[in-house]
Each structure stands twice: as structure tokens, then as C-alpha cells.
């Protein structure tokens, strides 16, 4: 489904490198931009580890998409100081020893001062909140039913294999706001974590229903729910996840939070309805696409982030910053997703490529390509139904600048997100929010 793409675990190194090269060509407009792929033998558990070295900035990032399998029990400051030299030592030494030396010396010098983005891995600083995240969702789902099969279907996608992007961003924003308001009570964080649970549950419920609609057989590199279970039961399981999530949020006893979060559900469905019809004219098409993208993807993140601000009793300005940050991140995320649909391999995405075209959907790369190749217009209007349409459109998108333009637009949203994050008081979490913007634009799957 075009909706939020999700990942399967990547094992195949050479394939990754190939795609990587492709992406580098695509992204590598900046000079001196070089990448190295970790050839580390330990592929399991920690996802892709890439080292990026941008120009002289020595901007370095460890990218971990599966941040949940991390060493528990460390205070984040401790981790901040030592994460590179201890937990990543092995991998780093294989990457580049010189870099490591430079960085470790920098790190030890700044325990109290402003924390540089280099050090921040959002998944690490949120370890406390995310460690048992999926266990908690599963427990919650289990507690609401006496029917084992319902429980099984409902928990199927909460297997810890997803990127957990939504909960991660939600918790980052929550903690950044708490820091901003100088209120870091444990109780407050716990409530905000429920919002994070809600965001992931609603996302999964939408995946479950999407599976029935789209009839695709695989998601996240495993059979999708509709391949395994009765579609009627799958539909009911989606409703079940929603109902349990609503009960959980109602128990926060905050009218405003419930109102903010209920907006997500109406937006999601409206987005789906928008996707059904494509009778817009060429001029309206892009606006239609962006509105649809907001409703289907960005609204969830934006409103979840806003809800964390509302719980923290932040003023309207802060809530708006949270909302707009989430909106921009969400839009960028989906734009990149739509772009990756054209460049990634099947294994990497855990779903077939050009999936959107096959579903008849014209995403940003195609819409951009239309400017250069007007012959795409009739194909868009007939939803790529004629034989050869999908292949031809795929080819034309690659020949045009559609992918670069899509990335440029995504980049703009990410920059806006970074600007918004900077309006909050500086903290590791606030830095983390900026790192996330970077993760979103540079992700490979």
C-alpha cells in the first residue's frame, strides 16, 4: 500500500549497496558527499548501519532503524557520552578508525554543554520509552478480548519489526516539550507514551484494513494478514485495535486530547476516499495529492505530537510548533516513501516496487514527470490500467527529474521541520527532532 511503508529486515548486503549507489547518485548533489557502508558481520538486530561523512562538517550519524533491541539500563547522558566508544566500537573500528578517534575525543569533552547532533540517536535516548513498547501494545490488545484468534490477528503487526517511527517521533516531541516547559514528571511522560501507543495502534489498524482493500500478499517481508486469515475477521480485528486504542486514550481523561486524536481517524478515512477518485484536472492534481498525503500520513504524526503538547499543558504556540513539525515530517516521510517506491528493491521495502503505479496511484514523482512528459497525463487519468502503462510510466519517471524534484520537496519540508524544532529549548530531545528530519530524508527503506 502506498500508505506508510514499512520495512522488512535487510540482510542482503550487496543488494543494499547497489541501491545505495543509486541513491547516492540521486542525493549526491552536494560535493564531497561520500558514503561508506558498514560491512560489519553483525547484521542481525541492529538494522543498517551507515556512516555518512558530509564535507568538512564531519557530520556523522549512526542510523539505526531497529532501535528497540538495544542494551537496556543506561541513563541517556551516559549513553550519549559513551555510545560511540562502547556499544558501537566494533562497528566503528571496521568503518573508519580515524573518524572514531576524532569523535571520541570530541564526545568526552562535552557532558554539560550543548549536545551536538552528531551524538544523538533518537532510538537510544528514548530507550526507556521504546524498549517494551511493542510488548505493552500486545499486552493491551490481549487484555481486551477472550478470543485468542482476535488477539493473534490484532497483534500480528506489533512484532517489533517496524521502524516505530511514529512512537519515536511522538516521544521525542513529548520529551522536548517537557524539557521546554521544565516539567519532566514521570506521570506526564507515561501519559504521553499512551499517545505514542495510540499512534502506532491506529497506524497498524490502518495497515490491517489496507491489506484487505489492496489484497497484497506481503508486508514487512512477511505474509500480510489478509493472506493468512478470513477477511471478515481481519476487518473486525482492525476495528478491535481502534476500539482498544480509544479506550486507552479515554482513560487519560482529557477531553482535548481525545478531540485532537479523533481528528486523525476522520483524516485517515477522508484520505482514503480521496485516493479512490482521480478526476481532478492537471492543475488541481498536485494539491489533491498533497492534501491526500497530509490526511493519510501526516495528520497522524502531526496530531499525535500536538496531543503530547496538550497533555503537557503547553500553550497554543508550542502545540502549533509540535503540530507543524509533525506535519512537515509526515509529508517528507511520505514523499520519500513515494520516491523509494521507484528506486528501492523489493527485498528492501518488504513489498514490491512500483506498487503505487500498480495500484493506479499517481504519486509525486509521476506528477513531476508529467511536466516533462505530457504523455503521462492520459495514463494518470486511466490509472495505469492499460498493458504497458506501468512499465512506461516507471521508465519516464526515471528519465525525468521527477525523483530529484520529489526529494527536493521532501527536503524543504525537512528543513522546515528542523527550523520548527529549533524554536524549542535546546535539549537532547530537541536535537533528536532535528536528527529525525535527517533520518527521514536519507532513509533507504
Amino acid at each position: 500500500m502506498a500508505c506508510l511503508s514499512t520495512s522488512g529486515r535487510v540482510v542482503c548486503g550487496s543488494r543494499r549497496q547497489q541501491t545505495h549507489k543509486l541513491l547516492c547518485q540521486l542525493f549526491g548533489r552536494q560535493s564531497g558527499y561520500s558514503t561508506a557502508v558498514s560491512s560489519s558481520g553483525s547484521t542481525s538486530g541492529s538494522g543498517s548501519q551507515l556512516q555518512w561523512n558530509v564535507n568538512s562538517q564531519q557530520y556523522q550519524l549512526v542510523r539505526r532503524f531497529h532501535g528497540l533491541s538495544f542494551n537496556p539500563g543506561k541513563d541517556y547522558l551516559d549513553l550519549l557520552q559513551n555510545s560511540h566508544s562502547c556499544s558501537h566500537n566494533l562497528k566503528y573500528s571496521q568503518c573508519s578508525k580515524t573518524n572514531l578517534r576524532q569523535h571520541s575525543s570530541v564526545h568526552t569533552q562535552q557532558p554539560a554543554g550543548p549536545v551536538r547532533e552528531i551524538q544523538i540517536d533518537p532510538y537510544i535516548i528514548l530507550d526507556d520509552e521504546l524498549k517494551y513498547f511493542y510488548d505493552d501494545v500486545r499486552d493491551l490488545l490481549q487484555s481486551g478480548t477472550s478470543q485468542p484468534e482476535l488477539d493473534t490477528i490484532a497483534s500480528y503487526y506489533f512484532d517489533g519489526q517496524g521502524k516505530a517511527l511514529r512512537p519515536m517521533v511522538t516521544m521525542l516531541m513529548a520529551k522536548a516539550i517537557n524539557y521546554h516547559l521544565n516539567n519532566e514528571s514521570h506521570q506526564l511522560v507515561h501519559k504521553q507514551r499512551q499517545v505514542a501507543l495510540f499512534s502506532e495502534m491506529v497506524h497498524s489498524a490502518s495497515l490491517v484494513h489496507d491489506d484487505v482493500i489492496d489484497q497484497s500478499d506481503f508486508r514487512r517481508g512477511k505474509p500480510s494478514v489478509n493472506a493468512l486469515w478470513n477477511h471478515k475477521k481481519v476487518t473486525m480485528a482492525g476495528d478491535y485495535i481502534l476500539s482498544i486504542a480509544s479506550i486507552m486514550i479515554a482513560r487519560l481523561r482529557s477531553d482535548d486530547v481525545t478531540i485532537v486524536l479523533s481528528q486523525i481517524l476522520t483524516d485517515l478515512v477522508q484520505g482514503e476516499f480521496m485516493q479512490l477518485g482521480s478526476r481532478e484536472t492537471e492543475n488541481e492534481r498536485f494539491a489533491h495529492y498533497l492534501t491526500k498525503t497530509y490526511r493519510k500520513t501526516a495528520s497522524l504524526i502531526a496530531n499525535a505530537l500536538k496531543a503530547t503538547a496538550v497533555i503537557a499543558q503547553a500553550d497554543d504556540n508550542v502545540a502549533e510548533v509540535a503540530f507543524q513539525y509533525g506535519r512537515n515530517i509526515g509529508l517528507a516521510f511520505q514523499l520519500v516513501d513515494d520516491m523509494l517506491d521507484f528506486v528501492s528493491s523489493t527485498e528492501q521495502m518488504g513489498k514490491p516496487t512500483a506498487a503505487d503505479l500498480k495500484l493506479g496511484l499517481a504519486t509525486a514523482p509521476v506528477l513531476f514527470a508529467c511536466e516533462k512528459y505530457p504523455e503521462l497525463n492520459p495514463m494518470v487519468m486511466r490509472r495505469f490500467t492499460e498493458p504497458g502503462d506501468v512499465e512506461r510510466a516507471f521508465e519516464l519517471v526515471h528519465k525525468s527529474h521527477g525523483l530529484e524534484q520529489t526529494r527536493f520537496l521532501a527536503k524543504k519540508h525537512c528543513n522546515e521541520a528542523i527550523r520548527l524544532a529549533q524554536e524549542l529549548t535546546e535539549s537532547p530531545y530537541q536535537k533528536g527532532l532535528q536528527v529525525v528530519a535527517d533520518l527521514v530524508i536519507n532513509r533507504l527503506k
Binding site: Q215, S243, F273
Partner: protein
């Protein structure tokens, strides 16, 4: 868009005479001004109607009830008591872009065998049996209970004696019920099933599933937004748990390929001898119905299945409505019980219906977990051999043979007994409410149902 919704409306007219004027106006005159004027006039007319209704109801309806309880009359009088008819078909709802969109897409499905069409037909042509005006019941219960003096005046709909929030809740109740019906119309298209292999109908079925799924989601999404705006988290919790119960109900027991329920094989469970009725934990809505305790006892199993399937939403909506009115916990609980028993009595009535005539009408089927079948299985376990044929699809079952067998046994009498039991329970709970025209209307509806 207008044409599409106009089609639906035409079909709706005979069901909702009072709304007709408004619908016609809204379609003919898109100008918002005329529309609101008309709405105000309509409102005034309703107030007049309702005013005369209360003054006459107490003298006419209460003292001289109709000799034979007439269903349609009981319902239309009840609708007058709470202002205008159940609000689920409000203009706002019908004229939304999404629903107009759905109507357009539904037209493509006309002529296909997708069960969504059947569901839509049932919803639009309300025969006396499918018409379960749940929103109406919620409004009547709300009016019968009244509201706490602490509720501010602006919240009240003076003309009808119910709160605006209660009206919204009644609408949510209908939306959730319909969303469940619509989601239940999804066809299982797994490749292992018959429906999934029929290439001729596959596209229709898959398109119908898409529309059905999205329509149900639309209703759920809007219910949750409406609920949130009530600004009462206990209500949100309660109604969400009713959605949970609906989903859970589709997982109980054995199922055929299309998820139609089949009874358990007799002797699967030791028959429990429970004297206490099983129900939800009233202190924790998250706790699911402990249905495992009652499996093997036909009456209680039937009761649990149908509480999940129907009684939960109606009961919890009635309860939630009194929460909104600031009524006591005790009265709330009575409201829940009333809704639950009413839904169960209704269900028993529906279950008995196919067995009312000596031969099963053509093309008619019945649920295999309906009360008569379950009672008959208890009486004569050998019937299970017939039911076993339905494991792949209930269509393989010889309904006529089962119909005949059931009629020869005591099951129908027991079902009638079951209906009377829940009717009596509902009427008994109603005595906790003050005597009003609304309570009288509820009694009339129950009595009329018994005569159906």
C-alpha cells in the same frame, strides 16, 4: 453528488416522512440561506407537533392504548415524542462528500452479488423486522430519565426534552451499528475460498469490499469525532468498548468460510449450571465478556453471543446517555439493563420469525446459532449431523430439513419463552424510571414487538 444522494433519499422517504420536506429543499435550493430558513421553520413545526403531542399523548395515548399494539404506530408516536426522528439520517450525514462518493460507487455494484448491496437494501427499506431504531430508543430512554438540574440550559433541546449531547450520542449509536453491519458485509476473498477463486465475480467482490470497508471506517471515524466532542471520557470509554464487543462477537465459535457462525458440537463442553447471568464487569469496561464460562448452555451461550452482537451497544448507549445527563450510577445501570434486555428480546423475536410459518419461505435462511436451532440441538443432538455439512459454507445446509426438525420439537416454544423473559425484564427495569410519555412510548414499542 446531489443526484447520487437524491437517489438514496428517494428510497428513504417512506421511512422518514418528516424529513422529506427538508431533503427536498436542500436538494432543490443549494443556497444555504434558504436552507437554514427552512430548517428553522421545520424546527418550529416540530416544536408545535411535539407540543400537541405531549398534551394529547397523556390524555389519549396513555389512557386508551391501541387495542392491538401496532408496531408502526408505536414507533411513529415515539418519534414524535423525542422531537424529530432518529438523527442518523441527518442532512449533514447524507450530504457529506464521502457519502455521496459512496453512493456513486455503490451504483457500480448494483447487479453484483456483493452482500454490501443486501445490507444497503436492508438499511434503506426498513421492513418491520429489520427496523431496529436504536437511536430512537436511546432518545426515549434519555427523555424518560430526564437530566440532573446541574445541566446548563444551553445544553438542552427544550422542544424535545433531551440534551443536544444525547441526540449526538443517539446518532453515534446508529452510526456504529451500521458500520458494523457494513463491515460484516465484507466478503472473504482468501485464495483458499470459493469466493476468492471465482474469477468472474472477483473484481466486483474486491471493489465491494473496498467500498464496504471504507464506508464502515468512515462511520467509525465520524463516530469517534462526535464522541470526542461530547467531552465526556467515560462515555467515550463505554462506547468504544461496545465497538470492541462487536468485533469480538465475530470470533466466537466455529465459522464457515464466510465467517457465518456454526454451533459447537454437542458435548464439546460440560454443561455449566450457572444460576447467575453472565455479563460485563461493570467496574472495568476493558474486561471482555467471560463467554467461556457459559459455552454448552444453549440459553446463556445465546445470550452472551447476542449481548456482544447487539445488547452491548444498545445497553451501553442508554447508560452513556444517562451519564451525559448527570444521572446516578444506579439509574445508569438500569438504563444499561433496559437496553440489553430490549435488544435480546428483539433478537429472540427475529430468531423466531423464520419458524413462524409451517414451511420455510423460498430463499430464506436463518442463523445456525439462532435460539431455535440452539434449543433444538440441546433437545436432539443428532441434528448436528445436518449442521456439519455447513463447515465449508452454510449454503450447503438443507435449511428446509432443519426447519422441519425444529418445528417438530419444543425449540420454538422455548424461543418465545426467551423473548417473553427479556421483554418482562425490560418492562420491569422500566419501572425504575418516572412515568412519562417517553416511558409509555417505550412500553408501547415493547408490547408491539411482542405482537409481531
Amino acid at each position: 453528488m446531489y443526484r447520487a444522494s437524491g437517489r438514496i433519499m428517494q428510497q428513504l422517504r417512506h421511512r422518514m416522512p418528516a424529513l422529506e420536506g427538508r431533503l427536498a429543499v436542500s436538494l432543490a435550493a443549494p443556497a444555504l440561506k434558504t436552507f437554514t430558513q427552512q430548517q428553522q421553520q421545520q424546527q418550529q413545526r416540530h416544536e408545535q407537533v411535539r407540543w400537541t403531542a405531549t398534551s394529547t399523548v397523556s390524555s389519549k395515548q396513555v389512557t386508551t392504548p391501541p387495542p392491538r399494539h401496532d408496531w408502526n404506530r408505536a414507533v411513529s408516536e415515539a418519534e414524535r415524542i423525542v422531537g424529530y426522528p432518529t438523527s442518523f439520517l441527518s442532512l449533514r450525514w447524507l450530504l457529506s462528500d464521502e457519502i455521496a462518493n459512496v453512493a456513486l460507487h455503490l451504483r457500480k455494484l448494483v447487479g453484483s452479488a456483493h452482500p454490501l448491496m443486501k445490507t444497503a437494501k436492508h438499511l434503506l427499506y426498513n421492513g418491520k423486522n429489520t427496523m431496529q431504531a436504536w437511536g430512537l430508543i436511546v432518545l426515549l430512554v434519555s427523555k424518560a430519565a430526564g437530566h440532573a438540574p446541574s445541566v446548563p440550559d444551553v445544553e438542552q433541546d427544550k422542544s424535545a426534552g433531551v440534551l443536544h449531547s444525547q441526540r449526538a450520542l443517539a446518532e453515534v449509536t446508529e452510526m456504529i451499528r451500521i458500520s458494523h453491519l457494513v463491515h460484516n458485509s465484507v466478503v472473504n476473498l482468501q485464495s483458499s475460498t470459493e469466493a476468492g477463486q471465482d474469477a468472474a465475480t472477483y473484481d466486483d467482490m474486491s471493489f465491494g469490499n473496498k467500498i464496504g470497508l471504507l464506508t464502515g471506517d468512515y462511520l467509525l471515524g465520524h463516530s469517534s469525532a462526535e464522541l470526542a466532542n461530547l467531552r465526556n471520557q467515560e462515555v467515550v470509554e463505554l462506547i468504544s468498548s461496545a465497538v470492541r464487543d462487536f468485533s469480538e462477537s465475530e470470533f466466537i465459535g466455529e465459522r464457515d468460510e464466510q465467517n457465518n457462525p456454526l454451533p459447537y458440537k454437542p458435548g464439546t463442553f460440560q454443561r455449566p449450571s450457572l444460576s447467575v447471568a453472565v455479563d460485563f464487569n461493570e467496574h472495568d469496561v476493558m474486561t471482555p465478556m467471560p463467554i467461556a464460562q457459559v459455552l454448552g448452555n444453549p440459553e446463556q451461550e445465546w445470550e452472551c453471543r447476542n449481548i456482544l452482537n447487539a445488547g452491548s451497544l444498545l445497553g451501553k448507549s442508554c447508560q452513556a446517555s444517562l451519564k451525559l445527563a448527570g444521572q446516578s450510577e444506579e439509574l445508569q445501570r438500569h438504563a444499561y439493563r433496559f437496553g440489553k434486555h430490549l435488544a435480546l428480546a428483539w433478537q429472540a423475536c427475529l430468531d423466531a420469525e423464520p419458524f413462524q410459518c409451517p414451511t420455510l419461505p423460498l430463499d430464506t435462511t436463518f442463523s445456525l446459532v439462532s435460539a431455535p436451532v440452539l434449543f433444538h440441538l440441546e433437545h436432539d443432538p443428532s441434528l448436528y449431523v445436518q449442521l456439519e455439512k455447513g463447515k465449508q459454507s452454510v449454503d450447503n445446509i438443507d435449511y428446509d430439513a432443519i426447519h422441519k426438525a425444529v418445528l417438530a420439537g419444543p425449540a420454538l416454544a422455548k424461543t418465545k419463552e426467551l423473548q417473553r423473559k427479556h421483554t418482562a425484564a425490560a418492562l420491569a427495569v422500566l419501572q425504575h424510571f418516572p412515568a412519562t410519555d417517553a416511558r409509555q412510548a417505550l412500553e408501547n414499542i415493547i408490547l408491539a414487538m411482542q405482537d409481531l
